[in-house]
């Protein structure tokens, strides 16, 4: 009898509709990031906001692997390193513009993704964690010892010193370094770069990934994550499904690596340490695995907070605090700050119940009882 009752479709006022609230929040966020340079275009702000948007892009890429497909990747930054080095080497060795290196970055990451994911994704996911951890270290150590000379004999990749003089993005004759004149207002390189990164992070990262997640492939990822055998029984080839998630994650990381290399205009192998992989993973986990708004917030958090705390002495040990925070979040919100199963981070169910209860009280109806067994 209890099984026969199902939640009645409740008509609510539009403002309480969680989806509408989410839409408004998304619009506020997008407007904020685009208007920001008009308020504050200082080098410092632009610098760390650009970095934050790169983190968002990276976080969304890792979200595919960890959040949707449920594969634990502990060496995600390896692909970021591969992307950075590939674009650096291609542009310097062949004197091609930065955009022409994009296909090279994509192909390099696909190949690396297949080499690492191909054999390990046939195994259960614990093995993947170990292999990716090792892979991350191998790439870091390789990068530190890598020396390649340009075709003209000058040093190009210089071991621990990495690469210098990375090409800025240029299209036709115009480069970001030239700045831009719009209606008498001069926009300088950094601001253009910020807009460039923000647009890529939002379009390809945030909207692109969430669209993928809502389609046929995204459903297959989630099915594999929730129950691999049941997914197979639904006619989903779990191996190819996992490998597509892994490759998409790799490509997104590679592109983020290229963006980062062109932000710094140099590549330093020291930036590819395990801590960075852990940080992006933390962004996904504390934000909410598989949750787009969660991961965006998580990525902003792990990139901006250390920057904001830079001037305080007690913040020396910020990663220790991050560790503690991670433990606390896992204890109290194991699905992250903004779980993928909730439309809004605060308990929408409670609000929902409260509203119906109030309405019922007004109407003098005894709706509360049925509500109770609906949600059990």
């Amino acid at each position: 009898m209890a099984s026969a009752t199902i939640a009645p479709a409740l008509k609510q006022p539009a403002w309480t509709n969680d989806r509408n609230v989410l839409r408004v929040l998304a619009i506020v966020f997008v407007v904020f990031v685009y208007v920001l340079p008009l308020i504050d275009d200082s080098t410092k702000t632009m610098d760390f906001m650009t970095k934050a948007m790169i983190y968002v892009f990276l976080g969304m890429g890792l979200n595919v692997v960890v959040g949707y497909a449920g594969l634990l990747d502990l060496g995600y930054i390896a692909f970021y390193a591969i992307g950075a080095y590939t674009c650096g080497i291609l542009t310097q060795a062949f004197h091609i513009p930065q955009w022409a290196a994009v296909p090279g970055v994509v192909v390099a990451c696909i190949i690396a993704g297949i080499i690492i994911g191909g054999p390990t994704l046939r195994l259960r996911s614990d093995y993947l964690a170990i292999v990716t951890l090792g892979f991350g270290e191998i790439i870091r150590v390789t990068a530190r010892n890598l020396t390649i000379d340009a075709p003209d004999g000058s040093p190009m990749v210089r071991g621990p010193s990495g690469m210098a003089n990375i090409e800025q993005w240029s299209f036709g004759g115009w480069s970001f370094t030239d700045g831009l004149n719009i209606g008498g207002m001069f926009i300088r390189e950094q601001v253009i770069f910020y807009y460039f990164v923000t647009t890529i992070a939002l379009v390809l990262g945030v909207f692109g990934i969430s669209r993928l997640a809502n389609g046929r492939l995204g459903r297959a990822w989630k099915a594999v994550r929730d129950d691999e055998d049941a997914a197979e029984a639904m006619g989903i080839n779990t191996y190819t499904t996992k490998i597509t998630a892994y490759i998409i994650g790799a490509v997104w990381a590679g592109l983020a690596g290229q963006l980062s290399a062109t932000q710094q205009l140099s590549i330093a192998p020291t930036s590819f340490e395990f801590l960075f992989s852990a940080l992006i993973l933390m962004a996904v986990v504390i934000g909410g695995m598989g949750s787009t708004p969660g991961v965006v917030l998580g990525a902003m958090f792990v990139s901006l907070v250390p920057n904001l705390l830079r001037n305080y002495e007690w913040a020396e040990n910020r990663y220790l605090y991050f560790g503690i925070l991670l433990v606390v979040v896992m204890l109290f919100r194991p699905k992250g700050f903004w779980p993928a199963t909730d439309i809004l981070p605060w308990s929408s169910e409670k609000i929902h119940k409260w509203l119906t209860a109030r309405k019922a009280a007004k109407a003098g109806k005894d709706l509360i009882a049925t509500e109770e067994d609906t949600y059990e």
């Binding site: 099984s3 046929r216 459903r219 129950d227 049941a230 029984a233 949600y375």
Partner: protein
């Protein structure tokens, strides 16, 4: 019924499956014809689920042959076997816990949806069309199994009996020729069981063959056209409900103890 010659869809010969020393399935022979309801019964640990797992590709049989629609599927992957037209449910409900009811059912159309990843990325017309068709299909099957309610809820919000229905809808979504149900009545109350019997008959009416593992004798005797009895991995009987009911071997191995249990209730 038996006069009409019916196509054999699934044919299992001398199937053997071992787990170390345990012989879970010991020389199973069975065939499933188009449009019939076959039950597989036997005491706990008789090897029923193991046999299902071999047929649906989850376990590799040690020897024997399994032919489905004229092809050997002994070494095929489970997803390939599903695409060929065999669907199954699991003994312990295995829905996708962090997906909505609708999305759970939609996964069943995965292999036949005409949608590439770039369609989803760019929201091309093909994306809209395939998603709409898939959703219509999913709603059709949810309606078919008698699910009425909010399909955007997470499956875990549903009571057990409803989850069972959703799992059957999800299996039907793969457009099977043969549907294998592993103890679909477990945990259901009396009226839900009646609903299940009626649902199984309606699935059969669509021309889908059903292989059923079930402990509920009343239900099995009621709807099966043929019953296969397993005990310790061995097949001890194969016949109509009447034949099985009167088979001394079966009564000794299975029905006797089961009736005792029912008396005790």
């Amino acid at each position: 019924m038996s006069e009409t010659p019916r196509d054999t869809l699934l044919e299992v010969r001398d199937l053997v499956l071992r787990f170390g020393g345990v012989v879970a399935v010991d020389g199973l022979n069975m065939s499933v014809h188009a449009g019939e309801i076959v039950s597989v019964i036997g005491p706990n640990g008789a090897g029923k689920t193991s046999a299902f797992n071999c047929i649906s590709g989850f376990y590799r049989a040690n020897s024997g042959s399994i032919r489905f629609l004229g092809q050997s599927i002994l070494r095929r992957q489970p997803s390939t076997i599903t695409k060929m037209g065999m669907a199954r449910t699991f003994q312990n409900l295995r829905l996708f816990k962090e997906m909505s009811i609708l999305d759970n059912v939609k996964t069943g159309a995965h292999y036949r949806m005409k949608q590439h990843w770039f369609d989803a990325l760019l929201h091309t017309p093909a994306y809209g069309k395939s998603e709409r068709e898939c959703e219509d299909d999913a709603r059709y099957w949810l309606d078919f199994v008698g699910f009425k309610g909010d399909t955007s809820m997470y499956v875990t919000a549903l009571p057990y009996g409803e989850q069972r229905r959703v799992e059957i809808a999800r299996a039907l979504m793969t457009k099977p020729r043969v549907l294998m149900l592993d103890e679909p009545a477990a945990g259901l109350n009396h009226s839900e069981k009646q609903g299940l019997i009626e649902l199984i008959r309606r699935i059969q009416a669509l021309g889908i063959s059903i292989v059923l593992i079930e402990h509920d004798m009343g239900l099995v005797m009621d709807i099966s056209e043929r019953i296969i009895v397993l005990n310790y991995g061995k097949e001890i009987a194969d016949g109509t409900p009447d034949e099985i009911r009167n088979d001394p071997l079966v009564v000794e191995a299975y029905l006797g103890t089961d009736e005792d249990e029912e008396d005790a209730e």
